[in-house]
């Protein structure tokens, strides 16, 4: 294809995208002259170029659109929904023709006669301008100009982004003179400023000043950007990746070589390479607005087809993301937006009845936080119907009726991401087929992101997506197994557990042949990496009683432990794709080159989990699909509660829900200071009051001597509203997961009741109650600052 045609295509696609946006904008602001002028110009450019390139059919269609637009611009018509739809249909048709040109070099076979007729018919319909004044020159103005200037000149006259308009605005030129100059410009090719000076209608220095002002106002107009092919950027990124690897090798080398000069040079290279890497990364960054730009159109069309009124608010369009990630989230975002309009926002009537404004608000928000990009899609619609989801889940056999009733709403809402789960009463062509939400989740997780949904009945639904900034260079944990090195992406990493020799045989237990480890009382399914990847069986941890390393990871909401031989280091790695020959192996997401020049495989934790069928370990008999198991497993876990068991006083065996514990700390008793009668200590920049549980609960008299200095205090830190209080206990006994059944009601203050934990009677501590009793003003008094 000719370069000239290629350029035309690229330019026209961009122009069409802009048209989409501007037309939708124009619909809400029909009197905007600038918008109309800009739309007219864009269509005109397309028409002009395709006439030049010989695409006659395209030219004809663009011409029909232009004619209609010129009627609008001249104020002969006012914009109606019907007109906008016809113009948008024209944009779509042009887009299809461009696609045909791209594919075949010809402007396609499709018949657009009816569309052209529609456009022509609309032209004829004289919609008399109603309440709003026509966006054109008033008759007086027209008369005042010596040669009644055509309307386009009036647009130009008042446009302060043009030099003439600016001069007019500043009162440095008379309207008549400017209109005359514009007329002259139509004939010749001179610049308006020059013509005006020639006419003697304006002082040359005024033109100069206005010119400078204009340049300052539109800083983006000078050609400071150039078009660069995406391929070139990708190639640059690859080369920089290689440079980073070469740098890593060089650094290793320079460290072993005791040459100060060489070390200095390689340090310098190190800095430059890092900076270069950052800058090149930036070239691949694109504002999320590039994807969002399509949404005003999508929202408009969808709202009309669903007969709803929707306003789209966008915030944080400038938030930047790596190009590859932008591509990956395009479809999920579109789906979510469609869902919001189709299911979330109610029809205007229903909204009025619910006491809301008839126009629903769909809000897109993007922002950076903690090295991640957050995207929120929220609507102020009816919200998710928890009851209906519960019913559906029971119908589909995902959970039992009792389980569904006990499930917290938040978990219920997140079930909409399960495959085949749709609560729409009727299936529309927009959504409701139950495909989609699970695809959204899968796609987001594929790029290392997470999805969460929150909803309040009657007030709306918010879907929150968190995704990493870039995929090209990621932090990873390096491990070895069976003498091979592997990288585990840090996004899936939760924690590392090392079992010293002796412990490993004790800690790892078997459930029907499946190895599990008790992590804080919870059973963590284990995957032996060497077995899973069929590596050499010589791995050390297979020998009885040897130290083992467990990498606790998370995939698809499921935690499991990967047993490896050694954990080496964390490193920033450059992700490289695997050849087609290896694409079928789900256990890897790619490969990388290490500092020593050797290749290491990157583990795909999700793939590994599916391969190892970790998810089935816990309740293999209960359900058939992975997702169902997930739900059931979580349900089973919910019945149980993780409890911290502590000892206070001789007979005070107490349990505290672990969810109330911020941290467990150990302090020397010398750290205690006094604030009035209250024992306090300095903790993380705050003054933390201390409560001696045994004094409060066990009824031990307050005169109990404080332990001798030098002993260690076991402190359970409880936090509320940013303020902490330390509960001093005698001993931390254990962390257990138990089904909590309160058997005897409270008999002592600060105790909710008694239960059997680990076959011993244990009191359940009422932590907030105890804190309020000792420090009545806790959290509230501080709350204000």
């Amino acid at each position: 294809m000719d370069d000239i045609v290629k350029d035309f295509l690229i330019e026209s696609y961009e122009n069409l995208d802009r048209l989409d946006r501007e037309l939708v904008k124009l619909e809400s602001d029909p009197s905007s002259k600038e918008l109309l002028a800009s739309i007219f110009r864009t269509i005109h450019t397309i028409k002009g170029s395709c006439g030049f390139l010989g695409f006659a059919r395209l030219e004809k269609l663009a011409h029909a659109g232009e004619n209609l637009l010129s009627r609008l611009r001249d104020g002969k018509l006012t914009l109606s929904e019907e007109l906008t739809s016809a113009l948008l249909a024209t944009v779509d048709a042009i887009r299809r023709m461009l696609a045909a040109i791209e594919a075949s070099g010809q402007d396609g076979e499709e018949d657009y006669t009816s569309l052209i007729e529609r456009l022509t018919a609309l032209q004829g319909e004289a919609h008399p301008p109603q309440d709003s004044p026509p966006p054109t020159a008033t008759p007086e103005k027209a008369r005042s100009s010596p040669t009644s200037a055509p309307a386009i000149n009036d647009v130009k006259l008042d446009d302060p982004s043009k030099i003439g308009g600016l001069l007019l605005e500043r009162g440095q030129v008379r309207r008549e003179d400017l209109a005359l100059a514009l007329e002259k410009q139509e004939v010749g090719r001179k610049r308006i400023g020059e013509i005006l000076i020639d006419q003697g209608a304006v002082k040359p220095e005024d033109v100069m000043a206005a010119q400078q002002l204009l340049e300052a106002r539109n800083p983006e107009t000078p050609a400071e950007t150039i078009r660069v092919g995406v391929n070139l950027l990708d190639r640059l990124m690859n080369l920089v990746g290689e440079l980073v690897l070469a740098r890593n090798q060089l650094l290793q080398f320079s460290n072993s070589l005791q040459d100060a000069g060489f070390q200095a040079v390689s340090q310098r290279l190190n800095l430059i390479a890092t900076e270069l890497q950052e800058e090149v990364m930036k070239t691949r960054m694109q504002p999320i607005g590039n994807v969002w730009n399509k949404f005003p159109r999508t929202v408009r069309d969808l709202a009309i087809s669903c007969s709803k009124e929707v306003r789209l608010d966008m915030e944080g369009q400038d938030t930047e993301l790596d190009r590859t990630i932008i591509e990956a989230i395009k479809d999920p975002l579109t789906h979510l937006v469609r869902n919001c309009i189709d299911h979330g926002i109610e029809a205007s009537e229903a909204r009025k009845q619910a006491g809301k404004l008839p126009t629903g608000i769909l809000k897109l928000r993007a922002f950076h936080e903690g090295g991640q990009v957050n995207i929120e899609i929220s609507d102020d619609g009816a919200g998710l119907n928890g009851e209906r989801i519960r019913r559906k889940a029971v119908e589909r056999g995902l959970v039992s009726t009792q389980q569904a009733a006990r499930m917290p709403d938040r978990d219920v809402f997140n079930m909409i991401f399960l495959p085949g789960f749709s609560t729409a009463e009727k299936v529309t062509n927009v959504s409701g087929r139950g495909v989609g939400m699970d695809v959204v989740k899968t796609n987001v997780e594929k790029i290392g992101g997470t999805v969460d949904v929150q909803s309040t009945a009657g007030q709306g639904t918010t879907v929150k997506i968190k995704i990493p900034l870039t995929l090209a260079i990621i932090p990873a944990l390096m491990v070895t197994s069976g003498r091979e090195r592997f990288a585990i992406p840090q996004v899936s990493l939760l924690e590392l557990v090392r079992l010293e020799s002796g412990e490993s045989t004790k800690g790892i237990e078997m459930v029907h042949g499946a190895p599990v480890y008790r992590l804080r009382g919870r059973l963590l399914p284990l995957v032996y990496l060497n077995r899973e990847l069929q590596l050499a069986q010589e791995s050390m941890h297979l020998k009885q009683d040897h130290a083992a390393n467990i990498v606790v990871v998370q995939a698809d909401g499921c935690e499991f432990g990967v047993v490896v031989d050694e954990i080496t280091d964390t490193e920033e790695i450059v992700v490289k794709p695997l050849g087609k020959q290896l694409k079928g192996i789900t256990a890897y997401s790619g490969a990388t080159i290490m500092g020593d020049g050797r290749v290491a495989l990157i583990l795909d934790i999700l793939g590994l989990a599916q391969r190892a069928q970790v998810i089935s370990v816990r309740d293999s008999a209960l359900a058939d699909t992975v997702q169902e198991k997930n739900v059931v497993k979580e349900e089973a876990a919910r019945d149980r509660q993780t409890l911290l068991v502590v000892q206070c006083g001789e007979h005070g065996r107490m349990a505290i829900p672990l969810s109330l514990v911020a941290r467990l700390e150990e302090f020397p008793s010398s750290a205690i200071e006094m604030a009035g009668p209250q024992e306090v200590m300095q903790y993380r920049g705050q003054i933390m009051p201390l409560i001696r549980l045994s004094r409060v609960i066990a009824g031990v008299s307050r005169e109990t001597p404080t332990p001798a200095p030098g002993t260690q205090l076991q402190v359970v830190v409880y936090s509320e509203a940013g303020h902490s209080v330390g509960l001093v206990v005698d001993r931390i006994v254990d962390i257990v997961e138990e089904k909590l059944v309160v058997q005897t009601p409270a008999q002592r203050r600060g105790v909710l009741g008694s239960s059997v934990v680990q076959k011993r009677v244990t009191d359940l501590l009422d932590v907030p109650g105890v804190v309020r009793e000792v420090i009545p003003a806790f959290a509230e008094s501080h709350g204000s600052n």
Binding site: E242, L533, K576, G579, Q581, L582, I585, A591, I593, V599
Partner: protein, 152 residues
């Protein structure tokens, strides 16, 4: 065009070849990273100046006997539709100009997968050159269920 240049290499005593433009470069034996679960014909991954390239053992791919212990293979890096792939061969031969006149279709006796990837046989003086269809060789689609997907 009646003749073209072939890059030749030896495998278990047989001379194989591929048109020169298909070959990107020939390099010494490289240290490889094994890929667990991969099909057996994939010997591993090599680092080709920062690019990660799969190495396919041509002996295994063609159903020949494994290379004797201790004999290090050479890498013939070929250009394919899906990027560079390295083929492991015993030895590199000369670049030979072959006459299209001497081309014959593979003999009927050629069995198995080799039959599918040998496009033709050039009769050179004293020996035969088997022309390989490189894109077919590197497409492991026929091994559709690699070890990776086996249940166990």
């Amino acid at each position: 065009m009646s003749s073209q240049q072939f890059c030749t290499f030896l495998l278990d005593g047989h001379v194989f070849g591929t048109p020169v433009p298909k070959v990107q470069e020939v390099i010494q034996h490289q240290e490889m990273t094994r890929v667990p679960l991969a099909p057996e014909v994939v010997s591993g991954l090599i680092n080709l100046r920062g690019q990660i390239v799969s190495a396919i053992d041509l002996r295994r791919r063609l159903g020949l006997e494994d290379r004797p212990e201790g004999q290090l293979p050479m890498n013939v890096v070929v250009r394919t539709n899906d990027g560079a792939v390295s083929l492991l061969v015993d030895e590199i031969g000369d670049v030979i100009e072959v006459d299209e006149e001497t081309l014959e279709s593979p003999p009927e006796t050629l069995q198995g997968f080799a039959r599918e990837v040998v496009q033709g046989v050039y009769k050179l003086s004293g020996r035969l050159l088997l022309a390989l269809d490189i894109d077919r060789v590197v497409d492991l689609g026929d091994l559709n269920k690699p070890k990776a997907n086996r249940e166990f």
